[in-house]
Symmetry: C2
Subunit: 329 residues, 2 copies
């Protein structure tokens, strides 16, 4: 499976309706920020206004602690930004800290760039003009040291390149964010709204960076990149700091409960963030298949067959997972 | 003003709240397709699935009468497609039938292309590899002959180029669509969802064309380009053919009523579609300013100072417009 979060393939192979399935294939918070119904009619009917866009960006600046002298832009999901960046960056190869989320490599490849997979950006090849790192990394949760990232950005700056830091899962631990270094260095911090806020269908993401770089991205995105409902709900959710703080605590607790279920079933938890857990098991492919037959969908990796990634679940969902894992053993 | 539909500038200059203003600056249907509340929670929380995307594209194929051997892709508004096309088209200059909607020129310029403005695509310069036409044209409503468009597409095909036909306002007269010619020629038909269906905030648009070209655009857009609510509502609205048929009749009637108001006030209606009317008046700038002081916002053009463009309005709105125009004279 290429991505989590799409039951189309699971249902085609194993039957059932979406509602029958326990979908643990994503890193999306299953306890979303609650949408205050109804969304105002004008959010659907009118073109988004500049005033609404400015309100969203102001809320995001606060939530993501963006320095005043850095810039920020919004798009219909960070994926839209991942797609554009290779077409806007200066010529040259890109080093990608791998293994990681596959769409960075796909987008740079589609943009005609040479891709150099590296274990660690400290081993930055001379011919790499740009670099990409997901921090914390997906799926293993590895966290890069901020000093090391600054050093990489300084080296790329001398080459005229960019350092893309995909902080899709950084909301659970804001202290790791590189946003504070993005005003003076060619660092592009990507922040996903949908995962932590549990609203992935809304399609909302941000890029934070040096003014000249963000201006180039804003020009490429063109007018009205974000929907009216996403502007409206994103602004309200990003202002809701007490929800965010409580959610960080809750996700840590829920991740601990998931770890207990996995460990009790003989899996070894090898990493992750508090939005997903990565576990290894010698018979992971058989385990994945058997869970799928029971309409439980987790993430497998064709390049790491002993790994499975599990998203968080309600207590009922955890009971169902525990019971399925128990009967498989 | 660069675009209609954004009261931010109007309010900054003339005060008031958005609700005080009669916004006639757009070509968006003010009688939207009615959203069946509530939108299912999963449309907000889950990543859009391939099954949902396929359902939307199937509905769009029917609504836009797309040939089986042509392809179609969806994006977060046709603007997102307008932004990408210049980055994906082969090298070479673009001829744009002008004057027209300004974002085509802006996007090709941002993509580093030479732009050749032409009155009519029949006068296609030899060095133009690509061409863009808005059909019916915005703001004058001019309709290009389909045989002439085919001839242009055939000439561009021999040059390895593309013909972009922006049918943003073609829903009011589907017979003019070039979608039927797009399977065999390098024609990219753009269809806007938000204008005719009155849901511009949703951000939904389509490109119809030859399979190899649409594949290239789909790859550039990447996964999940369209939000869950847009997939859900777009599918339902595009299947609602009786609403579309009734709306065509209604818009024609309402456009006639608007023409009467404009004509009675001494303006001369020079073109448009049934979603907006273009009128000329020797004192158009003064008229625009005086209407703005009365919190009525219409579209002016710095390159055609005698023109004003008016969107449709409710009967109350028309009375307010008539009264304001009467007192200005």
């Amino acid at each position: 499976m290429k991505h989590g979060g799409d039951l189309t393939e699971a249902i085609a192979r194993h039957g059932g309706e979406p509602a029958d399935w326990l979908d643990l294939s994503t890193g999306i918070n299953p306890w979303p920020w609650t949408i205050p119904h109804p969304v105002p009619g004008s959010a659907w009917t009118r073109l988004p206004s500049r005033a609404d866009e400015q309100a969203l960006l102001a809320a995001a600046r606060e939530a993501y602690d963006v320095p005043d002298d850095a810039d920020i832009a919004a798009a219909a999901g960070t994926q839209a930004l991942i797609q554009w960046i290779p077409y806007l960056a200066g010529a040259g190869a890109v080093a990608i800290a791998a293994p990681t989320y596959g769409e960075h490599s796909a987008a740079w490849s589609s943009g005609g760039r040479e891709i150099i997979a590296v274990d660690d950006l400290s081993a930055l090849p001379e011919r790499a003009i740009h670099a990409v790192i997901v921090n914390p990394n997906n799926p293993d949760g590895r966290i890069a040291d901020r000093g090391a990232l600054r050093h990489v950005a300084e080296r790329l700056d001398r080459r005229g390149g960019w350092l893309v830091i995909d902080e899709a899962f950084a909301d659970v631990d804001p202290a790791i964010s590189a946003a504070g270094m993005s005003a003076d260095l060619p660092i592009l911090v990507l922040r996903s709204f949908g995962k932590f806020y549990g609203l992935a269908g809304l399609r909302l993401g941000f890029v934070i960076g040096r003014r000249d770089i963000v201006e180039r991205i804003t020009a490429a995105l063109g007018p009205w990149p974000v929907s009216g409902p996403a502007l409206h709900l994103g602004t309200a959710a990003l202002r809701d700091r007490s929800w965010a703080n409580a959610t960080r605590v809750r996700l840590a607790r829920e991740a601990g409960k998931l770890d207990q279920v996995l460990t009790a079933a003989g899996l070894h938890v090898v990493g992750g963030t508090t939005l997903f857990r990565l576990a290894s098991h010698p018979d992971a492919p058989a385990l994945h298949a058997e869970l799928a037959r029971r309409h439980i969908w987790c993430r497998s990796f064709d390049w790491a067959r002993e790994w499975l990634r599990f998203g968080l679940a309600s207590d009922d969902g955890l009971d169902r997972l525990a019971s399925a894992l128990h009967s498989v053993r």
